[in-house]
Structure formats: C-alpha cells, structure tokens
Amino acid sequence: MHIRKYDFDYSRRHFLDQMRRGVLATGVLAPLWPTIARGGDISGVYPDELMSIEAYTKGKIHTGDIIDAGNVEHVKDLLDPIRYHQIAQMGRRLEIIDTTREAMKLSPWEYVEATLRNQGQAVFDADGNVTTREGKPWIGGNPFPDPKTAIEIFAGITLTWGRRDASFYAIKEYDIGPQGEVEYLYELCWAELAPVGRTVLEPKPYWPGHEDKLRYQSVFFVKPNDVKGTSFLNIWPYDQRQFPDLFGYIPAFKRVRRFPTNQRFEPLIPGSSLYLSDAWTAGDPFLTWGNYAIVGRGPTLAAISRNWNGTHENWEHTTHGGPQGNTFWDMKVELVPEAIVVDAEPVGFPKAPISKKRVWFDARTLAPLAMVSFDRRGEIFRSFDGAGSLYTDGANTVYDGAHPYASWTRVHAHNVQTNRMTRLEQVKRISGGYEMSANAPDLYDRFLTESAIRRLGN
C-alpha cells in the first residue's frame, strides 16, 4: 500500500505560506537548486500533484490530452488569464506532455554549468548592478539561481537573454489581424553577443576592452522589400541604470544614424504587436523598471521542452485556432511544478502605455514562461508566451557545440485590446541565406558593429 506522505493541497499551502511570510525558497519537498546541483534530476523536490497532470487534475486530464474549450476549466488555475481566454474563446489548443525532470534539458548546458560553478558569488553593488564579490562584472550563468527576491530573478534574465555567449536567430514573424488574416509576414535576424559572463567563447569570462558592456544586439529585416535592410544595433552598457546606445540603418537614408532609445513600447514595423521592451520579457535595463514584487507561486502549464519541429526541413511549425485557423502555434505544454510570478512597473518610462507587467518564471531555470501586461487603467493589455526546446527529436539533433541546442522555438505576442497577434518562430534559415547559429566567434564583426549594419542595409 502506498502511503501518501503529503496530502493533495500540501504544495498549495506551502506556496501560500511562503507568500504570506514573504519567503522565497524554491522546491517543496526539498530545496530545488541543491538538488539540481547534485545531478540535475528534480524528482523528489516536488510532490506528485506538481509533477503529474493526472495527479494535479485528479485524473481529469492525462498526458497526451488536448486542452481546449471543453476541458480548460480543469486547468484554469495553471494558465495566465490571456491563455485561458485564448483557449476558452478563441479556439486555442494545447497538447499535454509529461513533466521534464532533468534540469539540464531546460537550458543551454554551459549556462547551467556556469550557474552551478559560480553560485554564491553574485552581489548587487551600491548602484544596483550585479557584480562578483570582487566588484567585477558577472562571470557567467545565472547569478541568483536560488533567488530570494523578485529583482534577483529579473537581474538573471536581463543579464543574459539567450543564455549563450553568442546567439543568432533566423526568425519568421507573422502578424495576424482580428479577422485571422496574416496581414504581414516578415523575415528577420536577431543577433546577440555577451562581452561579459562568457562561458564558451574565448576570451572568457570577459572580452578585454568590452567589460563595460553587457550586450551587443542587433535586429535586421530581410523581407519584405520595403523593410529589407532596416537594421538596429543596440549596445547595452553594463550599468543597468543606463539605456542602450541605439544605431539604426534606415534604407531611405542609406546610412547609419544614431537614435534615441527610450521608445521601447511600440512596434518596430507595421502590424507587429511586439515591442523592444518585450524581449525575453526583460527587454529593458532592469534598473529602469521598479517595484519588483513576487505576487504568486505555484504550478503552471508551459511549453518548455519537446517543442522543436525537426521533421520540417526549415524547422517551421504548424498553427491552429482563430478565425482562419492560423492564430496560434501548435504547442506541447507540460506541468511546470513551480512558477514564480513577478510583477514589475516601468518606473523609468512615465508615458509607457503599460502600468505593469506580470511574468511567470520557471523556478527550476528562472527562464520566463509567459508575460501579461496591463494598461494604465489596469486592464489586461498584452500577453507574451513562447515555447522552448532542446533541438532534438531523437532522429535529428542540432548541436551548439558539444550539446544539443537549447533555445526558444516559437512566441506569441497578443494584444488583447486590438486582438492582433504576432507569431514568431525560430527557423533554420531565412531569405538571403541567413542561418541560425550558436556561439559563432565572428558574430560581432558580421552583425554587431555600425559598419556591419551599414553593410547589411544594402
């Protein structure tokens, strides 16, 4: 006879009790991060109800089931309000898969290794920036893997978005109108390079001469014709009180010009519902936001593994739902045993259209799972949710070196007030022969200088 040590509501009471006491200690049955450090398997950290959708729903939902309008009420508590609305009202569906137990399958390998190696060395300096105990820039991995405060969580995601020294994403963007038509289709590239906190690229952990920078990042469009060549280069100071330097190549001007960088709450291109501020739910320097607060703990549903479509030659994905059957990505979600819900307010942007954002983080990885933002009246405004995966399906594997490539695969950005949806997917290659790459040593010269965006601009 199996004797349950903890009753069904134990985890719920545990999270509520910690919230009431203002305590954040990840894990329920055992501390999360030490368990991960011992071997990466989180079995034993959470009770069954947090590791099995069957247990959580008391058998109403099973692995392999499709969550749709007919059964979404059984998992309503596991969804943010916009995803619930999308399923209940707009025909969105989610396929349930079992919970991933190996933490090393949820983030780039070297990132997790660095997190383990460097844990305990991060502090906030007097200005609020993350440094080592010696006062130097961060040295790689998540600086606060076992967070105690909300700002520690946001510091971690802001310091390294893609969790890799150099990332180059080939992206297709589909902008869908309220009637379900794909009104705009863009192809773009996104490049980001870490000059500090490097774990793979030499020299590491710092690129000499660039220690005062946190990130070089560029985005450039290759399709359609009227935006082709439009390129923006962001150079992020390490100091998170400062805005990035922004340089842009606008084809009409035929040259690189410097731009102000405070317009982060509007789309870069017509039809898009995606803002610069949305990147990884932490698109702005974290000290330009404030009033960080943990407002929730508990399980959630999220697409964090087995969400790569290696069967398509270009890794493209299928869709469903909405008026034309193409509003939502097909996604596989699993029960994430512990999510930390954090609110933050744009205190450095008095005229931002949003009053706050609420972000769900996976407690195991501290990677963002979903975001909902609210307008100045406090009404729900926009949502942002995505899918991540190891790029392997058993038959096909994409490597980022010695290990399978772990990255995002798809994103939804939904403006619920205008009912416009932007879908992004990371693909193998886009027009012009631009291909995804990881930790490419020449990314800086190819995509992350003024002369580079001038060259890309045609």
């Binding site: 038509e181 009104e183 705009y184 289709l185 863009y186 001469g209 660039h210 290759v222 399709k223 359609p224 014709n225 009227d226 082709k228 805005f243 330097d245 084809p251 009409a252 001007f253 035929k254 040259r255 010009r257 410097r258 731009f259 102000p260 960088t261 405070n262 317009q263 709450f265 509007e266 789309p267 291109i269 017509p270 039809g271 898009s272 519902s273 450095g348 942007f349 008095p350 005229k351 931002a352 259209p353 307008d375 100045r376 205008t418 416009r420 027009s431 012009g432 022969g433 631009y434 020449d442 010269d445 190819r446 200088t449 003024e450 002369s451 580079a452 001038r454 060259r455 045609n458």
Partner: protein, 650 residues
C-alpha cells in the same frame, strides 16, 4: 558602341557579370524581392513650369527697348544697313515682342510606373552580393514641341545615351542598376566593390557630409516623399569602398569611386528648372571627366554619448558648373561674316526655328524682359551675363564693341548706348538700363534665341567633421534623449557657375548643419512622435548651389547678390519635420517644412497607409512659396502639387 565606351561599360559591368556567372556555377543563396508602384502628381498651383516652352516666364507682348530711344533706333538702323541719316525711312523692329504662349495648362506633373527588383546573393559567410534593377516609365503627360525627353542624356550607359553607366533608356523610360556590388567581410574588414551609392553624414536633406554622390533628378526631381530624403536620387557609380574597425571606438572608412555627376531634369521634361531654350550639354561636359575617380576617407568614433566623425574627400564636384557652348548654327555665318575673328556659328546663340536650332520659332528667349527674367530665376546676373558673352565669344564682343562705337557716333551727346563701357577689361554694360536695349538689339535682329550650356565639374577638396550627442534628462521630458547633431565642411576654392562664363566663380565655402531630433511620447496610447529641427548655414551659395553673389535679379534689376542672412553673411535655412504613426504603424502622418531665410518655404504634409504586407499607399501635398528670386524656391515655386503612390511588393 565604340571601343572606348565598350571598355568602360565592361569595367562597370564586371561586378554584376561576375555575380551572375558565380551564381550560375556555384551554390548561391538568392533571395528575390521587389515592388511595382504607380506614382502620380497633380499640379494644384495656378502657374505652369516657367522653364518649359520657350521661357514661359514672359508671355504675350514684351516691350522692345530699342524702340522709343533715338540712339538705339539709329543704331538698329545702322546695323541693319539702313540710311542712318534719314530716320523717316527706317524700318524699325516692332515696339513689342510677341512672346507666344505655348502653355497647354497640363495638370499632371507626373504619371509614372516604377518597378524595382532586388537580388540578394550569399556565396558564403564572407562573400555576399546585391543587385537592384530599377525600371521607370513615365507617360507623355506634357507636349513641348513634340514628345518630351525625360531620360536621354547622351552621357554614358550601355548604349552611351543615358545618365548612369549601367543604364539603358529612351526618352520615356530608363532601366538601371542603382546597386550591383559584392561585399567581402572578414573580421573587422568590410569591402564593397561595384556600382553603389555612398551616403555620409547624419543631417537629413541638408547635404553637408553627404558629398560622395551627386543626384539624379530626372524622375521626380527631389520632390518625392520628403521623409525618403535622397534615397532614389543619389547617383550610383562603380566604386571600391572599404571599412575597418580600428578599435572598439574607431572605424576608418574610405572609398574610390568613378566620377558620376548630378543629372538635372532634362529640358522640356515636367520638372525642368533650366530655361528650355538652353540645352544642357552634360554629354559634352561629362566626356572630359568620366575617367576621373573621386576618393574619400572618414574616421568615425563613438565615446559614450558622444559620436565623432572626421573626413576628407577629394573629388570633382558632381554638381555642374555651366558655361556657354558655341551655337554651331552655320546657316547664318554668311549673313554675318567674320567679327573679331569668329563667325556666327562660333558664338553661343542660335536663331530659333532656323536650320541648326533644335528649338522651333517662338520657343527661344525673346526680348530683354524674357532674358532678365530667366536669368533671375536661374540665379544669374542678367547684365553681367552680357559682358560674359562679350568676353568669352569674340564674335559677340565685337558686336558689343560695335554697338558701343556706332551708337556713340550716332548719339549727339557722344555717349551712345554703352556710355560706361570699359572694353579693354571686357565690360560693356554696367547697369540694366544699358543692357536692355542691347539685348533687344540682338532679338530685334535675330528673333528669339536659344543656346547650349556645357557642364564642367571642377576638382575640389572637402574637409569635414561632425558629431552627435544624446542629452539625458528626467524620463519622458522634452529634453530627455534629445539628439543633437552637428556637421561642418570647408571647401577651399570651390567653383560655381559664374553667369555662365568660361571661368567659374571661385570662393572658399563653409557649410554647417545643426540638428535636433527627438522622439517624444505625448500620450500613453500613441507611439512617440518624431521631431526634427535643423539649421543649415552656407557661406557662399544657397541650398541648391546658386552662388550668393549672383542671385536677386528681376526683370528690371540686375542681381544684387545675397541679402543679409540670419547670421549676417551667407544663406540660412531651417527644416522642421515630424512623424506620427498610429499604434499599429499602419498609418503614419508626416509633416515637413523647409524655410529659406531669404524668403520662401516648402510645406509638405503626407500620409502613409500600409494596410497589409503587400500594399502601401502614400499621398502628400507640396506647397512652395518664394518671396522673390533670392529664394531658393523661385525656380520651382510653381511646383504646388498633390502626389500619390500606390505600391505592391512581392
């Protein structure tokens, strides 16, 4: 095609040819995109273009100043072989020149179809290529003595009759390759080889550091959508351009580019701004310069909020300096015989409508008012232009000397028509009162006149520097993230058209621009509004390059030169623009103003609508005002129009 031209075309075509060959013989990623667009502009102003149809500046009866003046009437009699002692017998010219009005009041300024197809090629991680094919067709919307020539320039091109090296054209279409180049990138080195545009500097519309390329104004002049700046106009040319990131802060960039001049709208085309009796002979002018190479070097630096650039360009100025060309009308050589060692055909003018003239009778300049008015619009001193003719063409100099001498003999006071002439120094007329009867003497004898003007492109060195700085203040206040840009160039011994003289005007010139730009959110519901305020100052010429010393003339007044600018000496202009997109960026509202301190402005509101990925609709209205001929807008003040563009991209 002669061998020399064949060789040049082959050189210019080398890069695109190599790309095509490579694309066929090795695995190359090729991405193709493009658009087709209808472009139209409708004139809403009352006046037609004064530079069309035989100098429509003057229409109807024009006073002949030969008449009513006994001395000039007697001189006319003498020059036409009449008995000067018997005034009663004189057959005098009409008291008024009848300037025919050819204006048809056509309202469409532009009715064109544009197609552009881009080929992006990727050979490997280091080598990429780009080819843009541009096709432009314009309907025959005006008719000036037959179908207008919009594009043929006889300068260069695959058939030698167009404006750019990689271009084929006819009078109503052109197809060219504004870009056809290979890029090589290896670490901090970037090399671009092939036909390309090069734009330097950060000031918009005010060309300070933007000195590498001239402008091709044959399509819609520079009157497109203002927010597109000169993207469609910069003339491409084969070049080697290299950039190297020296350090994290400093980049050095250099280029060598085959000389390619500015191309003005063709005479007789809708946006022509050179008086139609005067044929632009840049085909002759370009021949002397097409083998030259312009070069430049620039250092760019970035230090936190401060950006710096220093540059030097050694070039032949692509903006033409005009001089008179010999008319070549031999039909009248026997009638005039030899004067001062020259025959009639060796001087500048042609009698319109007679053999050897491309202009029909009535289509030339006719009368001193026509001459002075046209000169004033063109920024020329109509009186000094007379002396120029005398100095540069012995035939005319002799004629003027004869007028001075004969009229003095026929004047009881002994002064004659040119009483203050200093012939030894090449000065015949010293004021408008002296010049008008002399001009009218020409027109009375020859009828209406036309001529050629030949372009030249003198060498010069341009030294420049610039910077930008971003100011920070309380978030979302007016001064927060205000971008300030400054650029300056100094060109010693720059040359300008000197009343169409053979010897150009020479003067040192400073050009500066100060720009303030800001994105400011006025509400939480709308994206930021973009504002731009710029100030340009030029010490020796105005915005369009007219030397300040020869502007300001009128029909009855010779050019007085520059009035006082905002800072005292020089020309000053201000531009102000804003753009306001809607939250989804489907709509964008633009507004642009260019204000000329000498008394003129251009205003252009515009709306851009992008309902889907494929379609874009843009509409705009342009209004111009010129207080007088000192304003840069005087030659194009007529261009009040409403434009629309509808584009479909693929």
């Amino acid at each position: 095609m002669n061998k020399r031209r064949l060789l040049k075309v082959a050189v210019a075509s080398a890069v695109p040819a190599a790309m095509l060959w490579t694309a066929q013989t090795m695995a190359v990623d090729v991405a193709i995109s493009g658009f087709i667009r209808e472009e139209a502009a409708y004139r809403i102003g009352q006046e037609p273009n004064p530079s069309l149809r035989g100098s429509a500046y003057a229409k109807g009866p024009q006073t002949n100043t030969v008449r009513g003046n006994p001395v000039s009437e007697a001189t006319y009699a003498a020059f036409t072989g009449q008995d000067v002692t018997n005034p009663a017998s004189w057959v005098l010219p009409p008291a008024q020149f009848q300037k025919e009005d050819f204006n048809n009041d056509e309202r469409w300024n532009l009715m064109a179809t544009r197609a552009e197809v881009d080929f992006n090629l990727k050979f490997n991680e280091n080598w990429t290529g780009f080819v843009k094919v541009r096709g432009y067709y314009t309907a025959d919307i005006i008719d000036e003595y037959g179908k207008p020539n919009n594009f043929k320039t006889n300068m260069t091109g695959l058939n030698g009759d167009c404006g750019n090296r990689l271009e084929v054209c006819d009078r109503n279409y052109m197809i060219d390759l504004p870009a056809a180049y290979l890029d090589y990138n290896n670490g901090p080195l970037w090399v671009r080889v092939g036909n390309q545009q090069i734009a330097w500097g950060e000031a918009l519309f005010f060309r300070v550091a933007d000195v590498a390329n001239g402008l091709d104004l044959r399509r819609h002049s520079f009157l497109d959508y203002a927010s597109e700046e000169y993207a469609d106009e910069r003339t491409p040319s084969p070049a080697i351009r290299m950039s190297y990131n020296l350090t994290q802060q400093w980049e050095v960039e250099t280029f060598l580019q085959m000389f390619q001049p500015t191309i003005h709208p063709r005479s007789g085309s809708p946006y022509a701004f050179i008086n139609s009796p005067y044929q632009i002979r840049d085909d002759i002018g370009f021949d002397d310069y097409e083998d030259f190479v312009n070069g430049g070097i620039r250092f760019n630096g970035q230090f936190d909020q401060l950006g710096l650039q220093f540059f030097m360009v050694s070039r032949h100025n692509p903006d033409p300096v005009y001089r008179w060309g010999a008319g070549g009308q031999t039909a009248l050589d026997p009638a005039f015989g030899m004067i001062n060692g020259q025959v009639f055909s060796e001087q500048v003018f042609r009698a319109s409508g007679l053999p050897g003239s491309p202009v029909p009778e009535g289509g030339g300049t006719y009368g001193s008012a026509d001459w002075m008015g046209g000169a004033a619009l063109g920024g020329l001193d109509g009186v000094e232009a007379l002396n120029v003719l005398g100095r540069d063409f012995p035939f005319i100099g002799g004629f003027l000397t004869n007028i001075a001498g004969v009229s003095a003999m026929l004047d009881p006071s002994g002064q004659g028509m040119l009483p203050n002439a200093d012939i030894a120094n090449g000065i015949w007329a010293t004021n408008v009162q002296e010049a008008l009867p002399v001009f009218d003497m020409f027109f009375s004898i020859l009828g209406d006149l036309d001529a050629d003007i030949i372009s030249s492109y003198p060498a010069e060195n341009v030294f420049g520097a610039g910077g930008n700085y971003i100011f920070y203040a309380e978030p979302d206040t007016l001064l927060d993230q205000l971008v300030v840009r400054f650029e300056a160039t100094y060109t010693p011994d720059r040359k300008w058209t000197n009343n169409v003289a053979r010897d150009p005007l020479t003067q040192n010139e400073w050009i500066t621009a100060l720009a303030f730009e800001k994105y400011h959110r006025f509400s939480q519901n709308y994206p930021a509004t973009f504002f731009s305020l710029q100030w340009m100052h030029k010490t020796a010429s105005d915005f369009v390059g007219r030397p300040l010393s020869t502007i300001g003339g009128t029909v009855t007044k010779r050019a007085t030169g520059k009035p006082k600018g905002w800072l005292g000496d020089g020309w000053d202009g201000f531009s102000f623009a804003f753009q306001q997109p809607t939250p989804d960026l489907k709509w964008r509202y633009d507004f642009s103003v260019l204000y000329d301190i000498f008394g003129g402005y251009l205003i252009q509101p515009a709306v851009r609508y992008k309902p889907s990925a494929a379609w874009t609709v843009e509409t705009y209205a342009t209004w111009m005002y010129a207080k007088n001929t000192e304003s840069v807008f005087a030659p194009i003040e007529w261009t009040d129009e409403v434009g629309m563009r509808v584009g479909y991209q693929f």
